[in-house]
Symmetry: C3
């Protein structure tokens, strides 16, 4: 599709329908703290170990994350590991960096449409077992999973390698009516404190490397109450409350899940194409952004961009989030550009790139080589430029709007091209001919190959 | 209507249309203050006495109210008492706890469609009197009245008993563009300071029990100006400014209102059913949530819920507020549940209940018996569980979203039921059979009767 | 059009569609600072001089502007002056106080639909020059120009007198996801620091009258990078970065723009009437609010109001801004009124008026004669009343909502008229006959002529 036309459609949505689900919300005090005069590539600050995996969390009190109103984490789930059911106070996107598995997202009010049954051999006698539950979705490398605020979800790794997922929670989103601290409510287990952002002391505890246990939501209800409500014995109530559970938030399922058998990925996609996903309860929550064949911008000499907006995955419209997957070849460049209506949280998945970010006063607030595993927060309107290293550069970026509009400053769709040559000439004190060259030198859109003969390439 | 289906419809709205009218808006400083580690049942903190009634106001600077962005009050209007015309900086819901009367809500731009006329005997000669004014609505016990930000409204008690109303103003709502302080603008009288939340000192004055007078909005315009604008004499201008008016914000109308005669309730409802309420100016603002026959959830052994959302009363869509009325029988239980997209402000109207609230770290942040006249703020996502006392428990709850979505943790629509038994078993370290019992033990939706034979009931 | 009906339509929009794009966002700390107990008419605090014009900026850290979440400026562009291309972190409205010229607003993704060509005489040989660029719009006195957050725009004065423009940026708007500081991103030149609100020290520097230079966004990208990206030589890269450019943000174009020739105003309007403006890229961004013949409220003895809402200029729906132009004749009055859903930022364009503003406690928080060139911020819900001086009073007001609803307290559409006479009588302790007079004395809507025989006029 023609990029200009595509962008026009994007614009249409913005103007005709979408209201930002975010507000500044920053007080005078915060403003002094949001100067963002020095951004930097960050690695996770805290690590929370569990029986069958671990979570690494970026410091959400750091200026960059706090000002963007996001919390980021990297979860590693070992084979046969189950990330316990939980819900968050903010909508989130999860990118599957590695591995594959299955996930359940429970939307309140949705029916139990999946059935499992099995001839089981428990207790040395054969019994027929039946179960009903909500839809299970399979995920694999390159998938983005969208999860709303307050939706209970769980993940299980039924593969043979670790599942690694990058998660960005948008705590600054309007869907979160409380403060900007991350709040993860577990329905089971006895997860460690790291997920609880409510209190400064917890935050400090993490920084000191201390570990505290924190219970699941049933832990806040007394045993006797649970006995009454669920009609269970005290022993089970104690288990519900997660007492003495040392497994952490990712637990090992020794025999694996024997009963559950979600439809295969292909089957799921076939059903989807058949138009069977008709109700909200079966709405699509997962989309892969790793297919080169589905790239939105492609330059065979330089790389590609896949974007995932609410056009592709309509649920994003209510979550006000979107994502982008980028692949740059060796030494390729990305035109200077900015997001008009969103912050961008960029995670490098492979390779490295030299990145510079300019703020409103023309200060270079970021000038680093970003490497695999590092994260960069690009504030709304700040101008970013990238040049891939010798190994190329790959990343996934999360944006705080469901259709993130982009302004570019070089190339075929750039602002310079939209300016009359006379304005360019007067603005930059160049001749009209030089102005035309500034406008037209780069014919590509957003991604440029390294120029042969240019000093940098020569040096390479 | 099937509850699952109902919830699905709710979900649809949330995803397909509704944008939250609220944002976190909390700064770093506030976050430290929003830890909400200890909630408690509250009674009003200030009392403002007037000629024909009084208002009791909850302390909106208290953490619970401040973090939820709401201000709550209980107004008592004596027979023949008129609550003077005023408007607020925030949308509000009013629940009529007791009594009945009439109310005028003036929407700017709406026509004067009501006519009053009377043969009057003023000055000992008979004169014919004609008046035109905006629509008047009757209200009675169990009604919820919805009033937008900036809409002038008045209430008059033409019954024989006190009118008692619980009001929650949503100052954290996006419709309020200034700060979160309550601001009530009176059009007449000389109301006491308690309604003015703009200044810290007033707040302190209340806490010390001091009383200060504050004028109506005309008091801020000089007499001479008013003479000019209204074409009146100085004496009337002084009355407009409320000078020397000691009656307070609820005044006694000695002879009552002789002229006004709104259509009876039945007449109003008949007109409404005939589809005559076609324009916004005649949109429905009042709905009763006390009819057992209109319950949304009903369990003959345990109690009932009536909810009032923007589906029932479309004006709520713009106000981003909704309400719920609950009745629990003796010892009945409400399943642990949380609101996905709203805070809940619960006021006990009768009886008592043991209530526990769990936060994201599994801490019990509330564990009290809540009694008639007390208010509890339940933050978004926090899990609440209730058990009615010997006399049962009745309440009204106000929510900061027009369709408040709910997640339950036990019973027929619960998250546990949506989880595969294998996931439940692994999460809680129980056998698959115990998992099935956890999922299915409670067949009811949200409200459970007390279990016979259980320890608690046995002790009762 | 009947005013009541008009207002009803306004209401309909508010209720049926529009969600406020703003939230309070004020913390406890701010609340203490938002008491607004003393407003005052303000003149600009900083002046930023440039080669071909200057900008004067109101102090956005002042309580009035900070609490309303807006930043205001007055730009003067000399003949042949070009305001360099820039974009802001907030949507803005610009009112052309004087002069005329042309403006380009670049929306990302929109095509270059304008062509320029010329036989040029450069280098003493005739060459044919072709250029393509985005749409150019002409503007003239009385125009309001609407510009979205992040849209690059430039202005050029091709007339013979200075262009003077009043600009209000809505930094509190949801479209701005960062803090409330103004951030202006220039694409060229080396503009002075005054536009950069990110840092407290800059603000202080202004207050001390110091001048600091700040670069355009390319200044934050290193020269070598620019050489690569644009395929240009180092000299041009240095020009792109604005090095040694002393011209400031408004530069002189010595020979003027020879190539650019936008269609004439009449031609533009003819095209518009023909329904040719079909896509977003050609959406109308400019509307004149100075035509007496298009007044929304008109009183031949007192004056007129022209309003510009999202009904008139649909793009305002996404910007959540609107404007009003008012003209009062000698000694004419404006009824006490308030905006239900917006702040108002009023700029006096001619004459003077006595203005009083009342807050929620009936305190007169503003009581001044406002003169040409001064600005007043009227917070949401605060009641304002105006009386023009001997020379009359003219103003333009900017509002922080796309359809600002208004409540009036005197005249034909007033709240008093909507109240039953009995309620008025009881509220103000007057007889029913006096109540009728209060309701009906003023037959006009909003604008009243000075009453002959009244003391004030007699004294005049």
């Amino acid at each position: 599709m023609n990029t200009s036309l595509l962008s026009v459609s994007f614009l249409l949505i913005i103007f005709l329908g979408t209201v930002s689900a975010r507000s500044r919300g920053f007080s005078q005090e915060d403003q002094a703290q949001c100067q963002l005069q020095r951004l930097n590539a960050q690695e996770p600050s805290f690590r929370i170990q569990a029986e069958a995996g671990e979570s690494e969390i970026w410091d959400w009190k750091d200026d960059q994350f706090r000002c963007a109103g996001v919390v980021a984490a990297r979860h590693t789930i070992n084979p046969r590991g189950l990330f316990l059911p939980s819900y968050s106070n903010a909508p989130l996107l999860m990118y599957i960096l590695k591995g594959n598995g299955m996930s359940g997202v429970l939307m309140p009010g949705c029916p139990e449409t999946f059935q499992s049954s099995q001839e089981s051999q428990d207790d040395e006698k054969s019994t027929r077992f039946h179960d009903q539950h909500q839809k299970i979705r399979r995920f694999r490398q390159g998938d983005v999973i969208a999860i709303g605020a307050g939706w209970t979800h769980w993940c299980y790794n039924d593969g043979n390698e670790d599942v690694v997922a990058i998660v960005v929670e948008d705590t600054g989103n309007n869907l979160n009516q409380l403060d900007q601290n991350p709040r993860k409510f577990f329905l089971a287990g006895n997860p460690q404190q790291g997920f609880q952002g409510g209190a400064e002391q917890h935050h400090q505890a993490h920084q000191k490397g201390e570990k505290q246990n924190a219970g699941n939501v049933f832990h806040g209800i007394e045993e006797e109450f649970l006995v009454q409500i669920f009609g269970i014995d005290r022993e089970t109530a104690r288990k519900l409350r997660g007492e003495d559970d040392k497994r952490g938030h990712i637990v090992r399922v020794e025999q694996g899940f024997q009963v559950i058998s979600p439809p295969s990925r292909k089957e799921q996609e076939r059903r989807s194409e058949n138009g069977l996903e008709e109700t909200l309860c079966s709405t699509k929550l997962i989309e892969n952004i790793n297919y080169p064949s589905r790239a939105d911008i492609f330059n065979p000499q330089a790389g590609r961009f896949n974007t995932l907006t609410s056009y592709d995955l309509p649920i994003l419209k209510s979550l006000k989030l979107s994502a982008e997957r980028g692949v740059l070849y060796r030494n390729a460049l990305v035109s200077p550009h900015y997001k008009l209506n969103a912050h961008s949280i960029l995670y490098c998945t492979r390779g490295d790139a030299k990145i510079q970010i300019s703020d409103q006063s023309g200060s270079c607030v970021f000038d680093e080589v970003v490497r695999e595993g590092q994260m960069v927060v690009v504030p709304q309107n700040f101008v970013i430029v990238k040049e891939a290293g010798e190994q190329g550069f790959e990343w996934v970026a999360f944006r705080t709007n469901d259709v993130a509009m982009q302004g570019t400053l070089a190339g075929r769709t750039s602002a310079l091209r939209g300016l009359p040559a006379d304005v360019v000439a007067a603005s930059y004190r160049v001749s009209r001919e030089q102005a035309m060259r500034l406008k037209t030198n780069r014919e590509q859109t957003l991604i440029f190959e390294s120029r042969s003969g240019s000093p940098r390439v020569a040096a390479a």
